[in-house]
């Protein structure tokens, strides 16, 4: 319990230190809840945490998840109308397959695609900083 998510906590503390930010009870709480998820929206986390912490504000959730993005622990992804915060703390970069039938999300990684993306960028004089690749379709179960 005490040894859980220590590395991520250290990463957060390092970011806080570099930017004159403070470690608060809320930030610790939200971090530990966030690290249990694969992807989550601010709203979903708000309702989840409200059970044990009814006074935690939605704005604080948003602020904190955005802070995690700055710290490199999370990545904001716009699936549909809401922002999903993706837990990339102990996962590398990855992209997503999204089932439009049941909203299932599958993560994948493909070096060949990444390499071709770089090629395309170079051909056009660009240097890629980020990218988004989302494949929308039907999973095996929803196909029927």
């Amino acid at each position: 319990m005490a040894a859980k998510h220590v590395k991520e906590m250290e990463a957060l503390k390092e970011h806080l230190g570099k930017h004159q930010l403070k470690l608060t009870r809320q930030r610790e709480l939200i971090l530990s809840a966030f690290l249990r998820q694969e992807h989550i929206t601010a709203e979903a986390m708000y309702h989840q945490l409200a059970k044990s912490d009814p006074h935690l504000g939605l704005a604080t959730i948003y602020r904190t998840l955005n802070l995690f993005c700055d710290a490199g622990l999370a990545q904001a992804r716009h699936f549909g109308s809401q922002t999903q915060y993706d837990n990339i703390a102990h996962k590398g970069h990855h992209d997503h397959l999204i089932c439009t039938g049941c909203d299932k999300i599958v993560e994948f990684e493909n070096c060949d695609i990444e390499r071709l993306q770089e090629e395309v960028a170079t051909q056009n004089g660009f240097i890629i900083k980020t990218h988004r690749l989302e494949l929308y379709g039907l999973c095996s179960r929803c196909r029927h």
Copy 2:
């Protein structure tokens, strides 16, 4: 002038006919303005058309651009916070390189990437219906 965009106009009329919709002055006007663009937001088109047609409503622009999507002339893409309507009337499918410095958008097409996407989907039991691939970075000019 009169022979411009005839094919797209016919495509629109065909769609209207099939769906009991009517051809209006506004739809003609918005179509001809839209076909001059590569990508445009509803807001941008609203301001552009307001010069010659101050009473054209923003809701009408949205409705009409969405109609073009249904008719296969346009495709909605969510870059950042706004929806860009992409003129795909006489272009096939394509993806985008986006400069975060100057907002320049370069279109590209890469069959190898598309093929690898299909592979990834198949491996995971998915059948792709659509996808989005956006590469964000700096163009040659903005790199300095």
